[in-house]
Symmetry: C2
C-alpha cells in the first residue's frame, strides 16, 4: 500500500510507493532497459503482465492473448492502488492519505519499437482513443479527482522499459491545477511550429527545456476527455508529426510527453486549456533546477520553433526518413 503525503509548508504532494522498489533496476539511474528478448510488453508474453483492462484487437482474438494492437494493463509495480480510503489529515500536523488511485500502462504496439513515431497511424489513433476512454472510466470513481497521462522514451527520460508505452495515473488529489490561459501564445507567430486546422503546435515563451513543444487545441476546452472523437485522430496525427520533427532535428533524443487536463471532477474551466507538452531530454535536471525551480534553457523558443517549422524545407529528406519507418 502506498501513501500520499502533503508537504506541510509548500503544499506539494509526494507519493511514497515502497512496492515500486521491487522493480528491476529500481534504483539504477539511468535505468538499464530490459533487453527485447525478455520484454514483458511484446506480443506472445501477455501472461507477463497483469490481466488487460482494455485493448483494441483483431476480430476473434481473446483477452490476454495475441492479436492486440494497443493494450492497457495495470502497472505491475503501481505507485497507486485501487484499494484503500481517502482520509486526511492522518497524523495531526502532517496531512496524508492511503495511496489510492490507478496506475496503468498503455502498450502502443505488439512490436518491440521505441517511439510513438515508429508505430502505424492506426495504433497512434487508438492510443489516444483509449486514453480518452480510461479517463471517462476514472471519472466514475468518486474518490478520484485527477488524471495524468504521460510517456517516457529513452533512459534519459526515465523509461525503464524500452518497448513503446504510455502511463495513465488517476489520483485522489489535484497535483498542480494551475489555471492556464494559452490563447495569447497563438497570436505570436514567432513561436508557432505548425498551424493545423484543429491544433496549434508551438514552443512557449518561457520554455523550461530546449525544444519544449506544446500541442494546443484551437477550440477552447479544459478537459481532454471531452474531445470529439474526430479530433482524437487529428491529435494523434499532430503528436506523431511533432515528435517526428523533434526526432529529425535532434537525432532521436529521449523524450517525455504529458497530456495536461483539468481536474476530473471540475466543471468546464474558462481559463484552462488542455494540451500536450513534449519535452526532449537533451539536458539534465541538475542542482539549479531542483534547488531554485528555475530551468536553464540553451535554445531560445523562437529559434527552436523556426528550426522545427522549417524542417520540411531545409531537411526534407531527413524528416521523411524519420517518418517513413512508421507510415504504414
Amino acid at each position: 500500500m502506498s501513501e500520499l503525503r502533503k508537504d506541510p509548508i509548500s503544499g506539494r504532494w509526494v507519493i511514497v510507493a515502497e512496492d515500486r522498489a521491487a522493480r528491476p533496476n529500481a534504483f539504477c539511474n539511468p535505468p538499464e532497459p530490459i533487453p527485447s528478448g525478455e520484454c514483458p510488453f511484446c506480443e506472445g508474453r501477455e501472461s507477463d503482465t497483469p490481466g488487460e483492462v482494455l485493448a483494441t484487437r483483431e476480430a476473434g482474438s481473446a483477452r490476454d492473448d495475441v492479436g492486440w494492437r494497443v493494450r492497457i494493463v495495470p502497472n505491475k509495480y503501481p505507485a497507486l492502488n485501487a484499494a484503500g480510503r481517502f482520509d486526511s489529515p492522518r497524523d495531526g500536523f502532517y496531512e496524508g492519505t492511503d495511496g489510492i488511485g490507478y496506475h496503468e500502462v498503455l502498450i502502443e504496439s505488439p512490436e518491440h519499437v521505441r517511439s510513438i513515431t515508429e508505430i502505424p497511424d492506426l495504433h497512434v489513433r487508438e492510443t489516444f482513443r483509449l486514453c480518452r476512454e480510461r479517463i471517462l472510466a476514472y471519472k466514475k470513481d468518486p474518490r478520484l479527482v485527477y488524471a495524468l497521462i504521460f510517456k517516457n522514451v529513452g533512459t534519459a527520460a526515465g523509461a525503464s522499459l524500452e518497448h513503446t508505452h504510455s502511463q495513465l495515473v488517476a489520483t485522489p488529489i489535484v497535483p498542480t491545477a494551475v489555471a492556464e490561459e494559452l490563447e495569447r501564445e497563438l497570436g505570436d507567430g514567432a513561436r508557432v511550429v505548425l498551424d493545423l486546422p484543429e491544433f496549434a503546435v508551438l514552443c512557449p515563451y518561457a520554455s523550461r527545456f530546449s525544444y519544449e513543444t506544446w500541442i494546443v487545441p484551437k477550440t477552447h476546452a479544459s478537459h481532454f476527455e471531452a474531445i470529439p472523437p474526430a479530433d482524437v485522430d487529428a491529435l494523434a496525427a499532430a503528436v506523431k508529426q511533432t515528435v517526428g520533427r523533434i526526432e529529425a532535428q535532434l537525432s532521436w533524443p529521449a523524450y517525455n510527453y504529458v497530456i495536461h487536463t483539468a481536474p476530473l471532477d471540475g466543471q468546464a474551466m474558462d481559463h484552462y486549456h488542455w494540451h500536450v507538452e513534449i519535452i526532449p531530454r537533451i539536458t539534465s535536471v541538475a542542482g539549479f533546477e531542483l534547488g531554485a525551480g528555475v530551468y536553464i534553457n540553451q535554445v531560445a523558443p523562437e529559434k527552436a520553433a523556426a528550426a522545427l517549422r522549417n524542417l520540411e524545407r531545409s531537411d526534407e529528406a531527413r524528416l521523411r526518413q524519420a517518418m517513413s519507418q512508421s507510415a504504414r
Copy 2:
C-alpha cells in the same frame, strides 16, 4: 547575453542562456565527463579557467597560479552575466529582463577527486567559508536579490565536469521564496538522522527523493550568510559526515546538494530557516514528475533516516572505509 523570462501564467522564471550551448557536451544527456587529463579544474591548469575571484592559498603563492586549496572562478559558460540592466516588463504581455547576475564555480580541491567526502576537512571548511563571503559580496550589488549555491556530483546529477566543484548563482529575481517553517520536523525523532549540537540532520516527511536529507540549523536563522564563522566549520563537518553516510548506504550515488537561503535583500524572516538539501540521484525525473510536479519516492523517509542513523552500528566498517579516504 542571456535573458530571464517569466511564464505569464505560472509566474515561473526561466533562464534562456544560449551561450551555454557552446559547452562541450551541452546537449548530451547524460553528459560525458571530460577525462581527468583534460580537466580545467586540476592544479597546474589555472589558465584554462577565467581569472580567479577568490581563493585560499599557500603563503607566497600567486593569483591564478598553483598553490591554492579552494578556488572560485567565473563560470566559463555562464547562465547569467554581470553586465546588463534589470528592466521589466520588456514585451507587453511577456515579462522578461537581461540575464544579469553572477555564475561562479567553486573548485574544492586542486586534486581530481569527485565528491566532497574525498577532500580534507580544511578544504570543506574553506568551501563553506568562501560561499559565505561571496554571498556577502553579492549583497552589495543592488540589482541582485537572490543567491543559490549548489553542487552536482555524477552524470545522473547533471555534472558535466567530474572534478569536485560547487556552483554559485546570484540572480535579480527571487525564484521560489516559499516561506518554510522547519521546527516541527525536529520534534519528530522518527526522521532524524543525526542530532548534532548546532544542526539537526533529517529526512523530511514529504521527501521528494529516496534518501533526501536536510541539514537544518537548530538556532533559527533565515540567511545562511549570517551564520557565525564557528558554525560554518560545524556545517562543513555535518555536510561531509552526512554525504559520507549517504555514500556508504547507497554505494557512492550521484547527488546534488543545495543551500537554501532567504532572499539577499530581505530582512530576517521569522518563518524561513536556511538549510542544506542533499538529494541522491538514484531515480530519474520522468514524465510524471515533470507533468504533475508530484514526485514518487520509493523509500519512506522514516526508513531512510533509520538506515542512515544506524549506519555506524550496522555497517561501521563500510562507513569508515568511505570516510577514511578523506580524513586527512
